[in-house]
Amino acid sequence: MTDVSVETRGTNTGANTNTEADTDATATVNAPPDLTAVGPLTELADDDLELLLLIRHFERKLLDLFGQGELNGTTHTCLGQEYVPVSLRPLLEDRDFVFSNHRGHGHYLSRFRDPAGLLAEIMGREGAVCSGVGGSQHILRDRYLSTGVQGQSLPVAVGAGLHQLRADPGALVCAFIGDGTWGEGAVYEALNMAQLWRVPLLVAVEHNGIAQSTPAVANMAGTIEGRAAAFGIRYQRVASLDVNAVRTGLAPLVHEVREQRSPLVVEFVTHRVGPHSKGDDTRTREQLAHAREHDWYRLYGAAFPEHFESWDGKVRAEVDEIARDVAGRPPAVWSGSCA
């Protein structure tokens, strides 16, 4: 099974995200971290920090390249949300299926650490993970799949979960969706089936409060918690931005998804720091400031400046280098049907 501790550099398990008012020492040590509060960040393992920064600089590079007219098509960066897949990373196993969505670069990079393959895909160059056919939104590799139609993947995830049940008990299916995607009926058809059939489905909801340009208040009546409850599905809210805390807190819940065939909805209260796609952000100055205040990048840099500095420039340079390399490659070759 997943060994979480291997991946954890600091000794902090997130328990110190409790507020100072909490004076009961034993409780502080043993209690699971309070995932529902933002709390201070704890020191990251190098590996996690590096991955977070890889995603950050990858996404920034994409926006740069778009700005320079170097990229075709569209893209949706996960700026501000990088910590979600990074937190989940060691909780997921190779045999698990992951279904990602339009905002999937962080999901992909967390699973494969393959910036060159992804960038080549987006730029349509040699080495593209899907030969340049898929592009930013349509990626398949091993048991990882993303597609560009909101909600569509949830019923598919249920089917993949049915497969796991029989073919590989203990394996799960993780599907990422946004808050706005709860507008789609497919989501509910899937939740109903998942719970009826006790499919090991982990729905990771990245609730960034906005869908393209539409705030959640105009998109969603009620709450995600209520919607999970509607199907009798377990639910966990995660407001924490701390990778260690999130990971430690979710580990036992994810374990239950595997062992108890019990679907789980995890709602990450997260913040989209960048535009929806390329430059289309109509949020107010205040809204943008609020998002930026919750940016782990800024927060971590302030909390652990040395650690941060020791990696940030290095990873950025690596991404620059990768981008140069990929940009210099010949076009992707597609042997597929053009008949």
Binding site: F97, A128, V129, C130, S131, G132, V133, G134, H138, I139, L140, L145, T147, V149, Q152, S153, L154, P155, V156, A157, V158, G159, A160, G161, L162, H163, Q164, R166, A167, G185, A186, E189, A190, N192, M193, L196, W197, A332, W334, S335, G336, S337
Partner: protein, 334 residues
């Protein structure tokens, strides 16, 4: 044996032969065994792999796609094929695309079984033949259940292709008998087309002597047989009937020899007017047989209309054996 029994046995055989196979659908569990009883006995025999589902057409096709993607084989029953409209996105924009959208071939053995057709008085939302709306989605194949072809053979062919497919089943077929031993009735015989074994040939005496070729799939075959008989008896016109099981992509090539020799080619289907399967077939034939054809391929289809519930009104809208016969006679006059 009735067509429904043949299909039921085929599903049993498939579940038996293929341990990765699943069957999903609404109300398919025993003792009910599906609205048309095609899944009878399956859930009792293969409990973990035959799942009765909530009323979620889009969801269950998606779940089938997930199974297929993960390495299983998924057969999904849409109770009335009309409701496959709800799964259009999953079929066209997920399952079919996944085969090639990721830059390499992804096997996706998913079959959506769609009972179609009218003449049972179920009314406008339960009587359609929606085949035509699914033509030309890259990666998606369309098949039609036939009383001339063992459905296990057909299902196996579909599943082996490992691509998303729809199997359309005219509901009126379920209670008709399978044709066997080359016999249709006292007048008509059938065999497999020598160049296209998935196409049945129905003929009067000699499969190589005919004035007219009819092409009709699935439940239209009976009405086409009726037309063949009436044309012979009442008009002294000899017709050959071709009954394909693969609607799309339609393989015209192996049939060109047969078709080129006809005075009239007539494609009959129950779908309503406009954008028909016949138009797709005709398009191919017009391109390939232009110099040979004496007249345009004649299309027979139902009226451009919703399908009424009352029998006498439904009859006015849907194709009958007589519609086909008249179309041929008219065409010959042109």
């Amino acid at each position: 044996m009735r067509v429904a029994e043949n299909l039921n046995q085929s599903l049993h055989s498939l579940l038996e032969a293929e341990p990765r196979a699943y069957v999903l659908g609404e109300d398919i569990a025993d003792p009910y065994g599906g609205a048309f009883k095609v899944t009878k006995g399956l859930s009792d025999s293969y409990p973990g792999r035959v799942l009765t589902t909530p009323i979620s057409e889009s969801g269950i096709v998606g779940a089938g796609a997930g199974l297929a993607l993960a390495g299983d084989v998924a057969i999904v029953e849409i109770m009335f094929g009309d409701f496959v409209a709800l799964a259009f996105d999953q079929i066209v924009n997920f399952a079919s695309k996944s085969v090639s959208m990721y830059g390499r071939r992804v096997p996706m053995p998913l079959v959506a079984r769609c009972p179609m057709g009218g003449r049972r008085g179920y009314g406008a939302t339960h009587s359609q033949s929606l085949q035509k709306h699914f033509i030309g989605a890259p990666g998606l194949s369309l098949y039609e259940l036939s009383p001339f072809r063992d459905s296990y053979e057909l299902l196996s062919e579909i599943v082996e292709r490992e691509e998303p497919a729809m199997l359309f089943e005219d509901k009126v077929l379920y209670t008709s008998q399978m044709f066997t031993d080359g016999v249709v009735d006292d007048l008509l015989s059938f065999d497999r087309h020598p160049q296209a074994p998935d196409v049945a040939r129905v003929f009067v005496d000699d499969p190589d002597r005919y004035d007219v070729v009819l092409i009709a799939a699935g439940g239209m075959a009976h009405r086409a047989c009726e037309a063949v008989r009436d044309l012979l008896v009442e008009e002294e016109i000899t017709a050959l009937l071709l009954v394909p099981t693969r609607l799309y992509p339609f393989a015209a090539e192996p049939l060109l020899g047969t078709l080129g020799a006809a005075d009239v080619i007539c494609v009959a289907e129950e779908g309503t007017a406009g954008g028909t399967w016949g138009a797709e077939v005709a398009q191919q034939l017009h391109q390939r047989l232009w110099g040979t054809l004496r007249r345009p391929v004649r299309l027979v289809h139902s009226a451009d209309s919703v399908i009424p519930s009352a029998a006498h009104l439904e009859e006015r809208v849907l194709v009958s054996g007589d519609t086909i016969r008249q179309a041929v006679v008219e065409a010959l006059r042109d």
